[in-house]
């Protein structure tokens, strides 16, 4: 219906100025003036309005092209301009609609109306504008302050290796037999077997690098590496690009971040790694993590656990079975000995039952289930699941209270639980 009302599409509407857009929106049926890029926060209604407008626009364009097709495909200059203009306005509208989702862009567009044409200035592949942007730099500092490297753009040379290069097991190959080696030195040792000419000190010496080459007076650009994975923060196209320092860094980064974790810890059978060195480091300390969080994560250091809890909502420290044997807590968590002393386990179950926060524990069954699940959730990494804890909470609470009540009041337990206290004793 609105198509007819509007008549000719107004090409000036989207020429970047927000006031023009307001006009258009008024045309659209006076949806309100808080529209488009001017919207401070994301408004689904505005979004819908914009989308329907674009749909309408595309329909018109379709009609036009159909018309041209009907005239044997002869494209006149006027029509061509019309189509181009229409397409441009659609693209602009699309971008600005998507841009309204980003609060930062909103800010930009409200302060400078012209920027609505290009709402992502930071995404420009321009390193200079990126690092000169103070806001971006400070954000990077906040994100990973430990990296500390803040090289000015252009002061270094960016290299990007391909995925195959990174994942290749060998980088040095024998020109004669084709055997691959990880290190250049190993290749040179291997070459000795191919003839005496490779045994000369010159051939065995480390080939000179560019830095050590005489004659290169001009200061060399520092080399930095980019990750080939598109969208990665270490990729040079990322708006907050952080270069990698060495090839080894590239290799480890790529494996850790973009590859499957194929190495599993032989002790806990839970932790997985993609770099062997990481696995070896972990295996050294695996099982020593005695600081537990209710989410199941374990920490080797108490301050790390508390940092974790401070960071996440709803996570609490999980109290190990320290009530009975504080010193034995760590060892009994290793799984094998945890099964042995059931008293300890029962005590532990009662704690996790406590954290399950069941207001009606007299209705034993569901609460026992809850206690069990929360328990298993929090302790499964420690391979505690060999033991069945299902029965303990009930025996701890209900039975003991029944005994207490019956002994105190001289009555036989009726329903179990303390719910009967008011009936029996009074």
């Amino acid at each position: 219906m609105e198509d007819e009302e509007e008549g000719e599409p107004n090409l000036h509407v989207f020429k970047a100025s927000s006031s023009g857009k307001d006009n258009n929106n008024n045309n659209n049926g006076g949806q309100a003036s808080v529209q488009g890029v001017k919207a401070q926060a994301w408004d689904p209604r505005t979004m819908l309005c914009n989308l329907s407008f674009m749909e309408q626009k595309i329909h018109e364009l379709q009609g036009l092209v159909h018309l041209i097709l009907g005239r044997n495909g002869q494209l006149q200059d006027e029509q061509q301009q019309l189509i181009t203009a229409d397409l441009t306005s659609i693209i602009i509208q699309l971008i600005s609609t998507a841009g309204s989702l980003l609060p930062s862009v909103n800010m930009l567009s409200t302060t400078a109306p012209g920027s609505a044409l290009f709402p992502f200035p930071r995404e420009a592949n321009n390193l200079a504008s990126q690092t000169l942007n103070n806001g971006g730099a400070s954000q990077e500092l906040e994100d990973d302050a430990e990296e500390g490297e803040n090289l000015p753009p252009g002061s270094y040379e960016i290299k990007q290796l391909e995925k195959e290069e990174i994942l290749a097991p060998h980088t040095n190959f024998c020109t004669i037999c084709g055997k691959g080696f990880k290190r250049d030195a190993n290749l040179r040792m291997h070459m000795r077997g191919h003839g005496d000419q490779y045994k000369t000190p010159a051939a065995l010496a480390k080939p000179p690098t560019k830095e050590t080459l005489p004659g290169s007076d001009a200061p060399m650009l520092i080399k930095r590496y980019s990750c080939p994975f598109p969208g990665c923060k270490r990729n040079k196209d990322h708006k907050r690009f952080q270069p990698l320092k060495t090839i080894l860094c590239v290799k480890n980064h790529y494996k850790r971040t973009h590859c499957d974790k194929s190495f599993t810890c032989s002790r806990c059978h839970t932790k997985k790694f993609s770099v062997i060195a990481d696995l070896k480091t972990h295996e050294k300390h695996c099982g020593q993590n005695k600081w537990l969080c209710s989410c199941g994560t374990t920490f080797s250091r108490k301050d790390k656990l508390f940092g974790h809890i401070a960071l996440f909502q709803g996570h609490t420290p999980a109290i190990p079975l320290e009530d009975t044997k504080p010193s034995a807590a760590a060892s009994s968590q290793r799984g094998s000995s945890g099964c042995g002393n059931s008293n300890n386990n029962a005590a532990m179950v009662s704690f996790s039952l406590g954290s399950a926060a069941n207001a009606n524990q007299e209705t034993s069954q569901p609460c026992v289930m809850d206690g069990k699940t929360s328990f298993e959730e929090s302790f499964s990494p420690l391979s505690f699941d060999i033991c069945n804890f299902g029965g303990f909470p009930r025996s701890i609470f209900d039975d003991s209270f029944q005994m207490l009540i019956s002994s105190a009041c001289g009555c036989s337990p009726i329903n179990g639980g303390v719910g009967s206290v008011s009936d029996t004793s009074l």
């Binding site: 301050d303 401070a310 406590g354 954290s355 209270f401 303390v418 206290v421 004793s425």
Partner: protein, 668 residues
Amino acid sequence: MKKAKQIQHMISKPFDLLSEELVFIILDLVAQNPSDLKSFSLTCKWFYQVEARHRRSLKPLRAEYLPRILTRYRNTADLDLSFCPRVTDYALSVVGCLSGPTLRSVDLSRSFSFSAAGLLRLAVKCVSLVEIDLSNATEMRDAAAAVVAEAKSLERLKLGRCKKLTDMGIGCIAVGCRKLKRVSLKWCVGVGDLGVGLLAVKCKDIRSLDLSYLPITGKCLHDVLKLQHLEELLLQGCFGVDDDSLKSLTHHCNSLKNLDASSCQNLTQRGLTSLLSGAGCLERLDLAHSSSVISLDFASSLNKVSSALQSIRLDGCAVTCDGLKAIGTLCISLREVSLSKCVTVTDEGLSCLVMKLKDLRKLDITCCRKLTGVSITQVASSCPLLVSLKMESCSLVSRDAFWLIGHKCRLLEELDFTDNEIDDEGLKSISSCRSLSSLKLGICLNITDRGLSYIGMGCSNLRELDLYRSVGITDVGISSIAQGCCHLETINISYCKDITDKSLVSLSKCSMLQTFESRGCPHITCQGLAAIAVRCKRLSKLDLKKCPFINDSGLLTLAHFSQGLKQISVSETGVTDVGLVSLANIGCLQNIAAVNTRGLSPSGVAAALVGCGGLRKVKLHASLRSLLPSSLINHMEARGCSFLWKDYNNHNNSNTLQAELDPKYWKV
């Protein structure tokens, strides 16, 4: 006919005409005296029910009665179990079941023998629990703390002396109880920086935080001082808090009103400056027993807080004259100054301090032995609004100074002249302070009955009078006090050797009397005691040590009339088994001291111990330890009673008593 009957019916039940709200208002007024409330509830069934509905706070004497009490009082909101040493998990589950929805506060600070399971019942059932006091639960571990964390609505939590708690338990509480406002972790020596830091991160509403004697460093204070609403921070005896860890402290804790940094041995001027830098609205500062000298430099660290500071405590510090002078000129709005046990305070220093403090209300110069009348004269003339003056053992102060105090400071309410040279003229001048409520005249050897009679005539609001070893006092002085001060609650006439039964009879007019100490009064007999027992219904503390004429008949009267008695000492009296056993009639009795009482046999003591169900502390001669069956001792200890075995020799003969009656004896 029918109407007449109706009217008759209405007259027979006149209280039916009153709405419950009105009766509750009446009961609010009646409740000021507990025995009145008791009489009210015993009048008729309806009164009984109304009283049961009205009462909100309970302080039961025995945990065994809890089921019955809580069934009767359905609206209990505050439950104080400090009289019940033994509170089992069963008792706690009873509390949870019977008054779970209404209960708002529980005091378990004096109770033990409950575990995490009982606390869980309490935490889960009492959904609106706001306050819980778990102090002195020395066996409590993190598991119990994790259970406390289930009480999500908790706002006030006391965990004093829970020595086995660690950061993990506090972490659970911090995550669970997000609404906490007041937290006391005093003496939780297992809790460190991490636990306190997490508490500060998670519980943003904290108003008051007591971290006294915790092994914390300045690290967690960075988080603590970021709390937006923090008003009170107590860091007493935190040895780990030092200057270096506070160096980088940048905070703007403008809500902080009260800071206690007493006994922080490693905190010096540098650390204090950074601690005070962001606390511009601080009102109370406690630096007692600080390791640094209160010098001119030190006073400069108070620069930031000087405008709002109202109270400063420098007890036991080494103060210099310059330092006091600087404080006096910097902090003009000071209302309270405490220099107790600052042995280096001189007349010049104190005079300079108080010179500009026109608003000073409270001054404590206990044991500042160098002070003379000069500075006291300065205090009296510069601080006309003084309300409290404590100057125990300022023995160089001349008699004229006391006259000036009474003359200039008419608003005085609290005076401590223990061990001073005050005389009758001084007392005469002080009697013009109409609102005086506490007067301590211990070891004032210059005062006589004449001086006391001035007090009796002038200070009708007196609540507390201490005449310990003021040997010039006789029955005449006491009777004038008893005549004039009908609100008297506490009196100490220990070692006033001339006091006889006449004083006790006259004191029995003071119906509010709660504490009566007559240790070492050789002329007191059971007749005087009977007068007190019969007429002073509120009597709760009684010291009869070394009154040789007190015997069983006195205790029998006490057992019959003084049902509110909590503490009694009958050491070195003529009491025998009969008297001691009769004390079992008093339900509230908690402390008994009976050392060197010749008439006692082991079986009599044993019977008395078993009989008194609420005993918490018993002081006995060490020889009884082996004579009493060990099973009995174990039983008593399990009931929550602790023993104090005294091993001094039997001095119960007239010669030593005579020697002790010499006023200078105690100084030897």
